[in-house]
Amino acid sequence: MIPVAHILILSAILFTIGVSGVVIRRNAIVVFMCIELMLNAVNLGFVGFAYGMQSMVGIMFVFFVLVVAAAEAVVGLAIMLEIFRTRDTLNIDEFNLLKW
C-alpha cells in the first residue's frame, strides 16, 4: 500500500513545476504544455484520493478532466495558430494589444 500522502505530495510538486513553467517561460506553446502538466498533476491527486478512499468518484472526475483538457488543447492551439498568422511570433510578451 503506497501512502496516500506521498502521492498527494508528488502531485503538489508537479503542480508547482507547472506553475513555475507558466511564470518563467515566454513561448506560448510551452506555457500551454505547462498548463497540461498542472491538469495532469491534479489528476494524480484525484487518483490518489480515490485510491486512499476506495471510491470511484475520483476516477470519474479524472475522466471529465481528461475530456476538458482535450477540448481546451484543441481550442487553445487553434487560437495560437491564428495569433501566429497575424503577429508572426509566439512570445507572450508581445501579445499586449489588450494592455493599456
Binding site: A12, N27, I29, E36, N40, L44, G48, L66, V67, V75
Partner: protein, 177 residues
Amino acid sequence: MLIFFYIFGLLAVLSALGLIVLRSPVYCAMALVGTFVSLAAIFVLLNNEFVAAMQILIYAGAIMVLFLFVIMLLNLRAETHKSMHWGLAKALGVAFALGILAQLVGVLSSPAARLGPMGGYSAQRIADEGALHIVGRLLLTDYVLPFEIISVLLMIAVMGAVVLAKRRPPRHIEEGS
C-alpha cells in the same frame, strides 16, 4: 511496489523539470510525454489500469501529437538566451510558486487529508467486477448528465477549432485557378 512508485515519481519530476528548462519546444514536448508515461505507470501502481490507458491514449497519444503538429506547422525557433534570462519578475514568480508548494504540502499532509476508506469500492471489488465495467455503469447511471454535457462540450470544441483555424478566403482570386 513502493520502490517503483518512487522511481516513476522521480522520473515524472525530472521530465517535468526538463519541460520548463529545455529551450526547444520539441524537446519540451518530449519531456512532457515522459511525464505523462511516468504518471501512467503510477496510475497502474494505484490499481487504475483504466485511467492509465486513457492517459496514454488521450494525453501521450492525441494531445501531444496535436502539440507536435502545431509546433512543426509554426516552424518555431528555440527561445533565445535573452528570453530565458532570469529577471526579478521571474524570480518572484518562482518564489510565489514555492509558496504554493508549501501551502499544498501543508494542507495535503495534514490529518484532515487522511480520510480513510469511505467508498465501497475496495481493490478486491474493483478486481472482481473490472474497473472498466464499474466506470461504464457509473457513466450511464449516476453521471449521465455530466456525460451528456461533456459530449456537447466536445462537439463545440471541434466546431470552435474549425472556425478559428480555418484559412480566411483570399482577398483576390488568382488568375487561371
